[in-house]
C-alpha cells in the first residue's frame, strides 16, 4: 500500500494535480521543471533541504508551537520591573482589535484610492503625534527609536553640511550602538558627559566639545537612566548659537505631563511609540518617529514617506498622497535621502488608536499615575538598608537607577533572588555604566499597583536583612 499520498496543502490551491496539469497544458509546458530551464544545472540545488517533518494539520501545528511557547515565563505571570527601550504598559482592547483587522494586517503598497483607509489612519497618527509633540511634520514610522535617532542625526548633518555630532552619554547604550553603525564613517560622534550627581548633561563638557563642525546635539528626555533633563532650553540655545541643530529623543507616553521638546528649542524630535498600544513582544513592538517643524529645509531631508492631505475632483472629498515623494530613495536610489522600506506602519496605526482613546485627559492622567507610582517606588526602595537612588535629587519619569553597591551583592545576585519569587528585577546596567557601580534601571508604569511595588520592596528588604545578619 502506498503510504505516502501527496497532500494538497491548504495554502497552495493550484497544487491539485488536475489543475496543475490543466495549467501546464495551457502554458504548453511538459512539466514544472521545464519552467525552470533558465537556471543552469550547476546552480541547481541537488539535495533536499534538511528541515523537520512538518505538521500540515493545523491542530498539530498549533500544539507544536504552543508547546514551545509554554517554555516562556511572561510578565503577565510574573511581576516585572523591566524597562529600558521596551516598556510594559496597558494595551487597550481596541488597539488589538484594530491592528488585527485583516484589512490593515494584510494591506501593503496600494494607491491612495483602494488603500485610502491606510493613508488616512497613518495621516491621523501623524496628526495626533503632531499635537502631542506640538510639531507640524511627523513621518510614517521607521523601525525603532535607534533608527529614528540615527536618521535625525544624519538629517542634521545634511542640513548644516557638517560632519560631527555630539551625543549625551546617558542615552540608551543599544541606541548608541545603532547610531554608531549608522553614522560612521560619514558622520563622526563625540560623547558628552553627564553629571554623576544629577544624572543630567554636563553643560561645561558640552560647551567644550561644541565647535563649528558640530551638525547637531542629541540627548534623550527622560534619559535612559530615567532623569528628566530640565536644561533643555540651555542646551538648545548653546547648539543654536553655534549653528547646530538640537535633537531630542523622547518617550511620547510622557508628553501628557511633560513639556514637549519643541517648547525648549528642539528642532528634530524622535523616539519610540511602543508604549502607545503595542505589546512588548520580546522587543518586537518597536516603531520610531521623527518630527520637525514644517520648514522646507527639514521636510526635504526626511528619508521616510510623509503623507499629506489634499482634495479630489469632487467637492468635499478629501484624499491623501505622498508629500515630495521625489526626495525618497523610491524615486532616486542614489540621490534619495538615506533609504526607505517596510518598517512599522501597523504600529503607527495602533498608536493613533491609542491616542484617540486616551485623549488629552487620558494622557495627563496616565502621566500622573506613572509619576506617582514611580516616585512611591523610589521612596520605598531608598528606605531599604544598602539601597540607594543615586540621582534622587533630579526628577524622574517612569524609570530610575537603583544602586545596590552598598549591599555587597551584584545586580545579578539580586535579580536571581527576585526571580525565584516571581519578580523580574530592573535591567542590570553594571557593565554598560561601570563607574556607577552595581546598578539597575527599574521601570514603574500604570500597570504596577501599590501591592506590586510593596511586594518588590518586601522581597528585597527580606533578602538583604537576612544577608545582613549572616
Amino acid at each position: 500500500m502506498d503510504k505516502k499520498k501527496k497532500i494538497v496543502h491548504p495554502y497552495i490551491p493550484n497544487s491539485v494535480p488536475e489543475i496543475k496539469a490543466k495549467m501546464l497544458e495551457e502554458i504548453g509546458a511538459k512539466d514544472i521543471d521545464e519552467l525552470y530551464e533558465d537556471i543552469p544545472e550547476n546552480l541547481r540545488f541537488k539535495g533536499e533541504m534538511n528541515l523537520p517533518e512538518p505538521f500540515p494539520s493545523e491542530y498539530e501545528l498549533k500544539k507544536h508551537v504552543e508547546q514551545i511557547l509554554s517554555k516562556n515565563q511572561t510578565c503577565k505571570e510574573n511581576l516585572s520591573f523591566l524597562g529600558g527601550d521596551s516598556w510594559h504598559h496597558y494595551v487597550p482592547a481596541i488597539c488589538d482589535e484594530i491592528n488585527q483587522r485583516s484589512e490593515f494586517l494584510t494591506a501593503y503598497a496600494g494607491e491612495p484610492y483602494e488603500d485610502h483607509g491606510r493613508f488616512q489612519t497613518l495621516f491621523e497618527y501623524a496628526s495626533m503625534m503632531g499635537e502631542l509633540l506640538e510639531m507640524d511634520v511627523v513621518n510614517v514610522p521607521t523601525y525603532d527609536w535607534g533608527q529614528a535617532a540615527s536618521t535625525s542625526l544624519r538629517m542634521a548633518a545634511r542640513i548644516t553640511n557638517r560632519s560631527e555630532v555630539l551625543i549625551s552619554e546617558n542615552i540608551s547604550p543599544d541606541r548608541l550602538l545603532i547610531i554608531k553603525n549608522y553614522c560612521e564613517p560619514v558622520v563622526k560622534i563625540q560623547l558628552i558627559k553627564f553629571s554623576r550627581d544629577t544624572g543630567k548633561i554636563d553643560i561645561e563638557d558640552l560647551k567644550s566639545k561644541l565647535s563649528s563642525d558640530t551638525a547637531g546635539i542629541y540627548f534623550e528626555n527622560p534619559s535612559f537612566i530615567g532623569c528628566i533633563e530640565d536644561q533643555g532650553k540651555v542646551i538648545s540655545d548653546i547648539a543654536h548659537e553655534k549653528g547646530a541643530i538640537s535633537i531630542v529623543g523622547t518617550d511620547p507616553i510622557s508628553l501628557g505631563v511633560l513639556t514637549p521638546p519643541s517648547n525648549y528649542g528642539a528642532d528634530i524630535v524622535c523616539g519610540d511609540i511602543q508604549a502607545l498600544g503595542m505589546h512588548m513582544q520580546f522587543g518586537g513592538g518597536l516603531a520610531g518617529f521623527i518630527a520637525t517643524r514644517d520648514e522646507e529645509r527639514f521636510v526635504m531631508e526626511y528619508p521616510s514617506r510623509l503623507f499629506g492631505i489634499t482634495t479630489t475632483i469632487v467637492e468635499g472629498e478629501h484624499g491623501f498622497g505622498d508629500v515630495t515623494y521625489d526626495r525618497t530613495s523610491f524615486h532616486d536610489r542614489i540621490e534619495g535621502k538615506e533609504f526607505v522600506g517596510t518598517a512599522a506602519a501597523l504600529w503607527g496605526i495602533t498608536a493613533g488608536v491609542y491616542l484617540a482613546l486616551a485623549g488629552p485627559e487620558g494622557m495627563r492622567e496616565l502621566g500622573q499615575l506613572i509619576l506617582q507610582k514611580s516616585q512611591y517606588a523610589m521612596k520605598k526602595l531608598s528606605e531599604i538598608k544598602g539601597i540607594k537612588i543615586p540621582f534622587k535629587q533630579s526628577a524622574h519619569f517612569k524609570e530610575f537607577v537603583v544602586d545596590f553597591s552598598e549591599t555587597g551583592k551584584s545586580v545579578k545576585d539580586i535579580n536571581e533572588v527576585l526571580l525565584a519569587k516571581g519578580i523580574f528585577g530592573g535591567k542590570d546596567i553594571s557593565s554598560e555604566f561601570p563607574d556607577l557601580g552595581k546598578c539597575a534601571v527599574y521601570c514603574v508604569t500604570e500597570i504596577h499597583t501599590k501591592d506590586d511595588i510593596d511586594k518588590l520592596t518586601q522581597a528585597l528588604s527580606d533578602y538583604l536583612e537576612m544577608e545582613d545578619k549572616l
Binding site: Y36, M49, E77, D136, Y143, T259, G284, D294, R333, G336
Partner: protein
C-alpha cells in the same frame, strides 16, 4: 446558475469618513485608567510637586476626544476602505509577494506567551522564544546554504544596510576600507540595494540591463576594480528573469577582492531549487514578510533575515542566539561585530509566523510553494500576452520565475492610456496593479506576482479584469483617464503635495495653511 468568469460589479466601501479630529466632542473619553491608591497619594502627593516647573506641560495636547465605540467605529470604517490581501486577488503588487498569511499564525503570535515577554528578561525565562529564533536560523541555513542567520534587521532595507556595514567592517579589518569605497548593483534590483550602502559612504555603480533584460557580464567587468567593496544584487530581478551567469558575477567580484550580497527579499520562486551557496554568495537576506508569509501590515512590521558564511559571522550585529545542547542563550562576544542595526533581537511576531509557516509545509511543501508560484506566474504570463496592448519585454518566448515586468506601451501608443490610468481603473474592480520601482526602464510598466496562494479561478478573474479595462481603454480612453469611479474617493489632486505653501502632513498644519 452558472457564473461565467467576468469582472465583479464591485464598489469599494465608501464611508466618506471624516478625519478623526472632526469627530471630536469635548469631554468624551475613550478609555479610563486606574485611580491612584490613596496611600500612595498621601505619601508622594500629586506627583508634580517634585518636577522642575519648566518641565511640566502647561497646555494639554489637542488630541481628539471620542468615546470608545466611536473610536472603534471610525477605525473599522477606515479598515473597510483599505484593500488588504485577505480580501482581493492580490497579484497586482509585484515584488511584494502578497501571499496568504495564515490566521493560525496570528493566533499564535497574539498569545500572551509571546506578547508579554520583555526583551531583557533572564534567558532562563525565555527559552521558548529563543528556541523559535534558533530553529528558524537553522531552517534558513538549509534554505540558503549559508552558515548563520540573525533576525535583527527590521525589514529588507535594514538588512541591506547591515550587509553594507558588514562588508565595510570586513574590508576595514584588512586595512582596505578607505580604498574600497564602491558598491556595484543593478537597476532591476530594489532601490535600497543602492540607497542603503550610500549611508555608509559608498559610491554606487548601477548596471543597466542589456537588451535581454539582464545585467551583462561585460558591464560588471567594467564596473569592477580595486575599489570594489562588493556586489549587492537580486536574482531573479524584478523582471522575473533568472540571471544564468550569476556565478560568473560573484566570481568576478571575488577575484577583485569584493564580497557578494544576495538580495533575496523575494525568494518565492526558488525555494529548494537554487540557493545563495551554489551561486557563491557571502551574504544573503530574506524578507520574512514576503516569502515567509508574515503579513505586510500596511508597510510593516516586517523582518529582514540576514545570513552569512562562517567567515563573516564575527561581523554580525549582536547578540546571536546560540544553543549549547541544553539551553538557548545570547552570544555577545563577536570579535568584529558591527554593533547593532535595531534594538534587541528582531521583530519577534514575524519570526514566529515564519517559523510556524515553515513547520506547516516542510521541505517538500516549500518546494511546492516555489513550483506553484512559478506555475502560476507562467500561466499568468501566457494569459496577459493574449491581451491587446500588453507585452513582456525581454526573454521572448522564455519562461519566467516568480513575477513578470510587463509593459502597456502598445496600449499607450494606441490609446494614450498610461499604466497609472490602468491602475486607477483596476481599483474599480477590487484589484491593485503596481507599475515598477523608479526609474521606469520598461516603458509603461506593470509588475504582477501571483505567488502560490491564488487559485486558477482567481488568476482568471484578474485577467478578466485587465481585459475589461483594456477593452474600455480602446473604446473610451477618457473614461479610464478619469478613473477611479467606484473606489473610496475620486481622482486625487496631487499637485499641492509638492508645494511647500500648501502641503499638510498633519491636521494642525492643514488647519493652519488651508483653512484660513
Amino acid at each position: 446558475m452558472k457564473r461565467k468568469i467576468k469582472v465583479r460589479n464591485f464598489h469599494q466601501a465608501k464611508w466618506d469618513e471624516p478625519v478623526i479630529f472632526e469627530l471630536s466632542s469635548k469631554g468624551e473619553r475613550g478609555i479610563l485608567f486606574p485611580e491612584i491608591e490613596k496611600e500612595i497619594e498621601e505619601i508622594v502627593g500629586d506627583g508634580f510637586s517634585t518636577l522642575p516647573e519648566n518641565m511640566v506641560r502647561k497646555q494639554p495636547p489637542l488630541l481628539p476626544e471620542l468615546s470608545q465605540m466611536q473610536v472603534l467605529k471610525h477605525y473599522l470604517r477606515l479598515s473597510q476602505q483599505t484593500l488588504g490581501a485577505d480580501l482581493n486577488v492580490d497579484i497586482g503588487q509585484g515584488t511584494c509577494t502578497m501571499k496568504y498569511s495564515p490566521k493560525i499564525n496570528e493566533v499564535l503570535a497574539t498569545s500572551p506567551k509571546i506578547t508579554e515577554l520583555h526583551p531583557s528578561q533572564d534567558e532562563s525565562t525565555v527559552q521558548g522564544v529563543l528556541e523559535i529564533i534558533y530553529k528558524l536560523d537553522l531552517f534558513l541555513r538549509e534554505i540558503s546554504g549559508l552558515d548563520k542567520f540573525t533576525f535583527q534587521p527590521g525589514g529588507g532595507s535594514q538588512a541591506i544596510l547591515a550587509m553594507a556595514s558588514i562588508i565595510q567592517a570586513y574590508h576595514e579589518s584588512r586595512g582596505e576600507s578607505e580604498k574600497r569605497d564602491e558598491i556595484i548593483s543593478t537597476m532591476f534590483s530594489h532601490p535600497s540595494d543602492a540607497a542603503a550602502p550610500t549611508v555608509k559612504g559608498y559610491k554606487i555603480i548601477n548596471i543597466y540591463p542589456n537588451e535581454d533584460g539582464l545585467p551583462a557580464v561585460e558591464a560588471l567587468e567594467e564596473a569592477v576594480s580595486d575599489r570594489t567593496a562588493g556586489l549587492l544584487i537580486t536574482n531573479p530581478e524584478d523582471t522575473g528573469i533568472f540571471n544564468p551567469k550569476i556565478k560568473e558575477f560573484t566570481e568576478i567580484v571575488h577575484k577583485a577582492g569584493g564580497l557578494c550580497g544576495y538580495d533575496q527579499a523575494n525568494a518565492n520562486g526558488i525555494l529548494g531549487i537554487t540557493r545563495a551557496k551554489e551561486a557563491d554568495f557571502d551574504l544573503c537576506f530574506f524578507n520574512l514578510h514576503k516569502t515567509f508569509s508574515s503579513p505586510h501590515g500596511c508597510g510593516g512590521p516586517g523582518a529582514g533575515a540576514l545570513g552569512v558564511t562562517k567567515e563573516l559571522i564575527q561581523f554580525l550585529p549582536v547578540p546571536l542566539v546560540e544553543f549549547d545542547g541544553e539551553k538557548y542563550y545570547f552570544k555577545y562576544d563577536l570579535s568584529h561585530s558591527i554593533g547593532k542595526v535595531r534594538s534587541f533581537y528582531g521583530v519577534i511576531p514575524a519570526i514566529l509566523k515564519a517559523y510556524s509557516w515553515i513547520m506547516s509545509l516542510g521541505s517538500e511543501g516549500l518546494k511546492e510553494v516555489a513550483e506553484i508560484a512559478v506555475l502560476n506566474n507562467n500561466y499568468l504570463l501566457k494569459k496577459v500576452l493574449e491581451i491587446q496592448g500588453a507585452s513582456a519585454p525581454y526573454a521572448k518566448g522564455r519562461h519566467r520565475i516568480e513575477q513578470v515586468r510587463f509593459s502597456w506601451e502598445k496600449l499607450y501608443q494606441d490609446t494614450g492610456v498610461t499604466t497609472e490610468d490602468v491602475t486607477c481603473r483596476m481599483v474599480d474592480f477590487g484589484f491593485h496593479m503596481w507599475s515598477s520601482h523608479h526609474p521606469f526602464i520598461v516603458p509603461q510598466p506593470f509588475t504582477l506576482e501571483p505567488t502560490e496562494s491564488y487559485s486558477k479561478a482567481e488568476l482568471d478573474e484578474y485577467i478578466a479584469g485587465l481585459k475589461k479595462v483594456v477593452d474600455e481603454a480602446y473604446e473610451n480612453p477618457d473614461f479610464i483617464k478619469n478613473a477611479p469611479h467606484r473606489s473610496v474617493v475620486h481622482k486625487i489632486n496631487y499637485d499641492s503635495l509638492d508645494d511647500p505653501e500648501k502641503w499638510a502632513i498633519t491636521w494642525r498644519a492643514h488647519l493652519r495653511k488651508n483653512m484660513k
